[in-house]
């Protein structure tokens, strides 16, 4: 075997592809196989393509690009795989390998660099984005833009997404996440809260409510300043080096506080954080610290459930369905706690939708870059949602939340169905948040 091929094999994680016995058990679990109906868009098919490249049978790596780009990365295939193939690792390394060899056009390169190196990792940039959105809304530009039909002319269907972005929070309010929030009553745990980048810019309200709920169940909550984006979007786009840098900065930042758990409220971020140990496994200096960090990482639902759950007030009877985040289900393997928390609320009728574990098609920025593929998956999902008769869709990840809102718009269900984050829902049922989602939460 020549040196070049050997190096490519190492890059592609070729050894891991050999674990696949091609049994096909992943086929029914894969959303893109179901919607696109081709082996090329199945987990088994994608693994095979990477393997063929590793064996030199496919010479031009760009052949892999489209099939891999169309993968949502939901990793449902890992959950059903009888032989434990590490699909996520194969996908990530193959994407990194393609990215490394790819000649991006100058504007593409500039945009990637801006997004991955300047925007997501910068709290300042994300803050600016949040502020800009608030200004955009409050100054009437939004109304004007919507009225003028300008939104329909935006590229990449951005107009549709604009309509579902949550109401912005004022800069004054946004600055108000306290560094330390004391537990109500007896302290059970001390937790460090991971704010996330998109979560903090677009869903600051959910972050505020998360801190309140954690305090409510008996946690001292610490929010440290120098934390940073988790790096998930980078890893999924093949920017592994950038991703590792971010991981190290987070590990360093959180090492400064002595917390029982590092808590996040976004399924996708959480999945990245619990895999920091995989990400840095080959880095002798960081492997051990990454393991410790990953071991402390929890989704907020786990900690709330561990502390006994949220005591809801007797509200109106409501039918609710829970849209599972793929990364919570398939990577973090957190499935019981959100259900337990919802089922523990009085007058909440939880109805599971068909194919509950199937991805909604949001998948990071997949719904932006693979709009048509994403919408086909969303339409399937929304049918299952409608069949439940639920008026509230509860999610646990910002991407899923936005996608569900988009689904509600597409199906013209806005009058009677809403989508909320689990944290918002719990806060509302506990009387911490009243009916108006933009209302100021009680201190």
């Amino acid at each position: 075997m020549n040196e070049q091929l050997e190096q490519l094999r190492a890059e592609l994680n070729y050894d891991k592809t050999n674990k696949c016995v091609q049994c096909g058990y992943c086929l029914p679990a894969c959303p893109t196989y179901l919607t696109m109906g081709k082996e090329t868009h199945s987990p088994r098919g994608r693994i095979n393509l990477v393997k063929m490249a590793g064996e030199g049978k496919i010479k031009d790596l760009s052949v892999l690009e489209e099939p891999l780009d169309l993968c949502l990365g939901c990793r449902a295939c890992e959950t059903v795989c009888p032989t434990g193939v590490e699909y996520g690792a194969i996908l990530e390394s193959a994407r990194a390998s393609i990215t490394r060899r790819k000649a991006y056009s100058v504007p593409q390169k500039a945009l990637r660099s801006l997004l991955f190196k300047k925007v997501f990792p910068s709290r300042k940039a994300m803050k600016l984005l949040g502020d800009a959105m608030w200004v955009y809304e409050k100054t009437g530009v939004q109304k004007l833009a919507r009225k003028s039909g300008l939104m329909k002319k935006l590229p990449a269907h951005l107009g549709e997404f604009e309509a579902i972005v949550p109401p912005a929070v004022s800069p004054r309010e946004r600055a108000s996440l306290p560094r330390v929030t004391k537990a109500k009553g007896q302290r059970k745990y001390t937790v460090a809260f991971f704010v996330g980048c998109v979560m903090d810019a677009m869903f600051r309200k959910i972050n505020q409510l998360s801190v309140q709920l954690l305090a409510e169940v008996g946690c001292d909550v610490i929010v440290i300043e120098n934390q940073i984006c988790c790096g998930a979007l980078h890893a999924h786009a093949g920017e592994m080096d950038e991703s590792k840098q971010l991981a190290k900065r987070n590990i360093e930042a959180f090492a400064a506080v002595d917390a029982d758990f590092i808590v996040n409220n976004a399924g996708g971020c959480g999945a990245m954080l619990v895999e920091y140990d995989h990400l840095l496994a080959d880095d002798a200096q960081w492997a051990e610290r990454a393991r410790a960090f990953a071991a402390k990482t929890r989704d907020i639902s786990q900690v709330l459930a561990l502390c006994g759950g949220i005591a809801g007030k007797e509200g109106p009877t409501e039918r609710v369905t829970y849209q599972r985040s793929c990364h919570m289900t398939n990577v973090q393997k957190v499935t019981a706690e959100p259900v337990q928390l919802l089922a523990g609320l009085p007058n909440v009728e939880l109805v599971e939708m068909a194919e509950a574990n199937m991805c909604c098609g949001s998948a990071g920025i997949y719904n932006l870059v693979q709009y048509d593929a994403s919408m086909e998956i969303l339409d399937l999902k929304m049918q299952h949602v409608i069949d439940t008769g639920a008026v509230t869709i509860v999610t646990t990840n910002p991407g899923c939340l936005l996608q569900m809102k988009l689904g509600i718009e597409r199906e013209h269900l806005g009058e009677r169905v809403r989508a909320v984050h689990l944290v918002e829902y719990l806060a509302q049922r506990a009387g911490i948040l009243d009916g108006n989602p933009s209302a100021q939460p009680k201190a």
Binding site: V21, Q22, C23, E39, L49, K57, P67, T83
Partner: protein
Amino acid sequence: MTEAQIAAIRAIVKTGRVLTEEYDRFSYAFDASFGTYLPDVVIQTKDVAELAELVKLANREKIPVYPRGQATSLSGGPLPVHGGMVIDLSVMDDLLEIDEEDLVAIVSPGVLTAAIHKAAEEKGLMYPPDPSSSHVSTIGGNLAENSGGPRGLKYGVTKDYVIGLEVITPQGEIIRTGGRTVKNVTGYDLTKLIVGSEGTLGIITKAILRLIPKPPASETVMAIFDDLVDAGRAISRILTSGILPSKMELMDQASMVAVENYQPSGLPKDAEALILIELDGHPMAVRDEAEQVSRVCREIGAREVRVPQTAKEKEDMWKARKLVSPAIVRVKPTKISEDATVPRSKIPEMCRRLQAIKEKYGIHLVVFGHVGDGNLHPNIIADKSDREEMQRVEKAVAEIFEAAVELGGTLSGEHGIGLMKAPFMEMELGAAGLDMMKRIKQAWDPHNIMNPGKIFPEPGQKLVLSE
């Protein structure tokens, strides 16, 4: 294939897809067995008339045609070994009709077998064949390979439930065989000939399947033995005592150890064998039979007999059996799953031979399977990248087949011959027996376009597992 031929295909396929991109061709170049064989073109269409036209074109131009379901085959059934067209029939999944009065299901080939199970059960009926891959394998694939599964012991295999077919012949004609009646003696039984012919005689485009009433209850018994031979004796004694279990599964010590190391399930690591028995029928009858089975096992010398008391306990017992496959690949990545089958009375002897083969070649061999009907699954766990090991494995596999045939058994109980076992056909059938089969193939398909390279060995063909 030529550009003109591809253009001719595109002209025929008006409702589906014609795939020629490199990534698509590679995606249809494999199944769950070994090897990569690139087709020239992959076709997806739901239209039977279009398919018939395609076959006519293939017959005229002598282009190989490879029908394919979801390619879960373990014997190489759908591999396009000579290039040509792959016809992806998994897209033909629209027809699934249950007729309660005639007790039949009418299905198109792309329907998943599990979907048939579900639809039948919703009406209180049962489609008995249940290959382990039923939630992912298509009925068309099951029909082509005559699939089995653990319930074969009591209910038989796929062919026992097929009463009618619609088939595209290698000449591109659409024919019907059999019908909707259980009794049908009109002429040669082409239905039974086509089922299990592994796609070499035509493309199945519709099937009429026989259904039976769903048994109302089931009971499970697990018996643990210190001696594998005792387990074999218990199996024979149960089967001659007037009880016919619906399933009877065996796990050897290596399987139990693998499961316990993978996901502890309460199996004894020091016992030599375990048998898991399922009885189905009337609730009172199965309870009584479970007691009888337990008694027989104890009399023969079972170390322990467990009868699950709750649905959860029962589910856990069967889960332990299902964990064998995933558990054993933790040891090494490559799994060669065989299905050599012997008469029931020869199971203990076959187990002894397998142990001898394991030692002789120094291979990692695990035995489990549907022991009630003699359908053992000797699985060899190896590493494909280790060429020297794979050569030892090839020799061991050949010896496993020899042992099965010598004991009056067969090369394949349920996976089919395909590409993998073609070199051993003469050993089981004899030269004249194999020649009769070849003559049938020649009469049906003189240009040898339907799934060529399968069942019948090509000159000098040998078992190859290393690439």
